[in-house]
Structures are given as C-alpha cells and as structure tokens.
C-alpha cells in the first residue's frame, strides 16, 4: 500500500498499484536471491576450496612439465656449445695467441663480474688486490 501511495503521490500515477506490484516483485526477487545464495555460503566455500585445489594441482603438473621441457632445452644448448667449441678450435688461426696483456685484462674484467666472484681463478686476483668483494653466481662446472 505504501508503494501505491508513493506511486500516486510522487509519480502522479493513476494506477499506483502497478508500481506496487513492480516494487513488490523486485523485493521478492531480492529476498529469494538472498535466501538461495545465503543458504549456500558454506557450500560455496567448499566449492571454492575444491576448485582452488584442482587449480593448484594443475599448476603443479604444469610446473613439472615446464621445468622438464626446460631441462631438455638446456641439454640442447650444451650440445650446441660443444659442437661450436669443436668448430671454433679447429678453425684456421684458432691457436694464435692473444697478447698476455689482453688475456690478463680480459680475465681481470670477467672476475669483476658477479658470475665469477669466488671462482678459483678469480680468487688470486682478490688476493693480489684490486677486486671488490661480494656478488653471486659462479662459473659453470
């Protein structure tokens, strides 16, 4: 009745009861949705947990497969490195020496890189002085 009154009073509707029906129906829909979805909250949480567990399991399998594929790809990289190494060392002029100064400067430069700090060869530079401390990584075996 309030809706009918509102309809007549503020909207100037002759048949304010139409508004009453529409608003009443809307209210019923809201109540019904609340009753249905509210009652399902525990079930919803259980479903969420189940869905997330399934997603986590799928992600675990994905990670294992991806890491395995990466291992295979890295084996191929190493194989190419060996192949290239052989080709380079057998190329004409490969045995020509670079000057001692260039060789030493190259090694000293590399030893300043984080990847080589702590490697056996670089420790002698550290002992001799001139190398900064710290860093991470290390030379490949």
């Amino acid at each position: 009745m309030i809706c009918k009154w509102l309809g007549i009073r503020f909207l100037g509707l002759e048949r304010g009861w139409w508004l009453a029906i529409i608003l009443g129906f809307g209210g019923l829909l809201i109540l019904a949705n609340y009753a249905i979805s509210g009652g399902k909250s525990a079930r919803t949480e259980a479903k969420l947990a189940r869905n997330q567990t399934e997603a986590a399991m799928a992600s675990g399998s994905d990670a294992v497969a991806t890491i395995g594929a990466q291992g295979t790809a890295e084996d191929a990289v190493d194989a190419l490195t060996r192949e290239n190494d052989h080709a380079i060392r057998n190329a004409q002029g490969a045995a020509a020496p670079v000057s001692d100064a260039v060789d030493a400067a190259g090694r000293f430069s590399l030893c300043k890189r984080a990847a080589y700090r702590g490697s056996a060869e670089c420790v002698q530079f550290t002992v001799a002085g001139g190398m900064e401390a710290g860093g991470s990584g290390g030379a490949a075996p």
């Binding site: 869905n51 290239n84 590399l110």
Partner: protein, 70 residues
C-alpha cells in the same frame, strides 16, 4: 622451482688458455648460458601467469549466481 633455478645460471668456464680460439669459444659458451637464463625466465614467468589464471578461473567458477541462474 628447482633450487638450481634460484641460484641462477652460472657463467661459462673462463678460457682454458690465451689462444684466440679459447676466447672465442668462451664467448660462444657464455652466449649459450645467456640463452639458458632467458629461457628459464620465460618458463618461470609462464608458470606463474598460468597458475594465476587458473586461480582466477577457480574463483570465477565459484562466484554466487543471481537466483542460482545467472
């Protein structure tokens, strides 16, 4: 993630001697190590992105429906 991945890809072994071939072979080997590092980055990011997408989908599938229909 494997512990090896957390440590990072190591640099190539320093040149064996002072021949030109030693240094050039070192440069190539170092590039191989760079390839590994880049591939690991792409693989790691891919694992995380797909994991996040699955989690989003799991939440989306669970979202309450209006009147249990929509």
């Amino acid at each position: 993630m494997p512990a090896e991945w957390k440590r990072g890809v190591p640099g190539a072994p320093l040149p064996d001697g002072n021949a030109a071939g030693d240094w050039i072979a070192f440069g190539d080997a170092q590039t191989g190590q760079l390839d590994k590092a880049n591939d690991r980055y792409v693989a790691g990011v891919g694992i995380i992105e797909r994991c996040e997408a699955r989690d989003r989908e799991a939440v989306k599938k669970t979202r309450r429906k209006f009147l249990g229909l929509f």
